[in-house]
Subunit: 356 residues, 2 copies
Amino acid sequence: MSYKITVLPGDGIGPEITKEAVKLLDAVGETYGHNFEFQYADIGGVAVDKQGTPLPEQTVQHCESCDAILLGAVGGPKWDDETPDRKPETGLLGIRKQLNLFANLRPAIVYDSLLDASSLKRDVLDGADLLIVRELTGGLYFGKPRERREGEHGLEVIDTLHYTEAEIERIIRKAFDLARLRNKQLTSVDKANVLENSRLWREVANRVAADYPDVELSHMLVDNAAMQLVNDPKQFDTIVTENMFGDILSDIASMITGSLGMLPSASLSADGPGLYEPVHGSAPDIAGQNIANPLATLASCAMLLRYSLHLKEEADAVEEAILKTLREGYRTGDIAAIGEATVSTSEMGDIVCQQI
Amino acid sequence: MSYKITVLPGDGIGPEITKEAVKLLDAVGETYGHNFEFQYADIGGVAVDKQGTPLPEQTVQHCESCDAILLGAVGGPKWDDETPDRKPETGLLGIRKQLNLFANLRPAIVYDSLLDASSLKRDVLDGADLLIVRELTGGLYFGKPRERREGEHGLEVIDTLHYTEAEIERIIRKAFDLARLRNKQLTSVDKANVLENSRLWREVANRVAADYPDVELSHMLVDNAAMQLVNDPKQFDTIVTENMFGDILSDIASMITGSLGMLPSASLSADGPGLYEPVHGSAPDIAGQNIANPLATLASCAMLLRYSLHLKEEADAVEEAILKTLREGYRTGDIAAIGEATVSTSEMGDIVCQQI
Ligand SMILES: CC(C)[C@H](C(=O)O)[C@@H](O)C(=O)O
Ligand SMILES: CC(C)[C@H](C(=O)O)[C@@H](O)C(=O)O
């Protein structure tokens, strides 16, 4: 089969890590007899520099006409003083919104061989395996009004936390569907003791639960969930939450894997192409040095194969290759214990490819 | 000297733990020659049950006419189905707002003797000592509109993240003042790559920084801050952030001390009485069993002595007494290692009192 993949390298370490991902998909193609056709497009700071906007129209077109999208990362201090509509992040938020990528899947698993890289104790981590399902196209990220204005008491600023019932319902259903494929335990995280949003969220979750009698639904307040992720991550199977809470919780969850450099993500719409990206950022401080950890991006390829191309065997093979590479002791700097030997970004990519 | 303290026991374990705090203040009074006069008032669920509202007018009056307020905790599943204006939490948010308690101080220190109770590794924790300064009377907690309504696309719900420039400035100044008394490093946490609020927040922080050339200001995104608190808490000295972010980050920070049962807090206004409460909740599951950990409430008494009554020596004595009690091996269930002997709530209170 032939598949069209749009690659959005972006800023900072984005180009280096997506390069390894392309290499990996080619290796998968060779072994399993698929043909991947890659089309490249600009997003983020590089798009601002070259085309004056973080999300050029042509990039959106490329993304709409492909089977799946692979994104590196966007942002960096270079664009700190840009106006909001010229911020790299605006490009990322724009593509999420325009493609209706409402369901952001962020799995965090413990790699045995990385247990020592985490700041958490071994017995706290051992066996942890959770999936955060984050709503990605609503909430504070997109609500209107969002503005600065002169109010009764001088200058004031507002952002709006907004959800429709339909938006809440579709992400909750998605999370129930995913929980069903896992350990059938869904924790819905909100702040129902304070937010009107969370009260509706909880009602919808309870209502939808009736359609999933085989899945156990529980509710947890966001402050408690943040703490419990640190205290006892093993208690969680699938977590569903709104956009901003999901942003924060998934970064905490990354600590389970020892490094943010390990966390992949998939952003899915109802029927269009999905977008796959590492959870980590563009790490401008180490960009261009060939030392970044490409594993989150490679693991994102596994999700791409699984969710967008429905190539289960190939997806499993990639995940197995990453596991094996780690087990054999290969480490980039971020996951190496003190004194441990490290490999470069491209070496790490090569080694994973060889395992396919 | 004579001091008037308003005690708001509240719900769940609230009555048990405030009882120990009153005992402790009496012990301090006896040793140092002060007289504490306690007046009790209802707040939260108990106030709903007895008076039909979570914040009776008389409670507010008591709080306005005293030197300091000591609060246990509010809330519990019993009131889950109450309307928002009859929720226990509405009483807590109400008293914070009515007394203008905009500055919430949540210190997290590592107790040597509790290092093993934390899910974090010993070397990650050792020496961590940070203060979270949380804005407490603005943001999503209080912004209007907050409502459910019929929109263009069916039922929808909104909460409003609102701050005035003046509100931002006063909490930032407070945090700079506090950082000055500590290690002179202030981390301002926001989500400036997404929120309009955070952009103004960052501008104000940078502007105010000019008045504090001796304090080093840095900025961190909230998702990264959540992760860094787990990854390397020792990098922080003083953190300042808005209301909701502060709620989440302080619960994470509690993991540094091994248990949420250890974290005290002070909520201060510009000139009125301060309110002191443990960061943990009402723990209805263990209420009435005399097994709750009273140490967060006792440590809150130390903050009360320090910040509202300006009794530095007495505050130091209370903190020293808690340290000594822990060093001597006394533990409630939540901070005991497996197999370690435990003491009850009241025994723990007695032992700390004896150390005064
Ligand atoms: C870069 C930023 C806008 C983004 C977000 O907040 O969603 C990032 O933190 C993420 O988690 O993907
Ligand atoms: C009980 C709840 C309303 C409160 C808050 O969110 O402020 C609590 O979590 C806290 O941190 O004091």
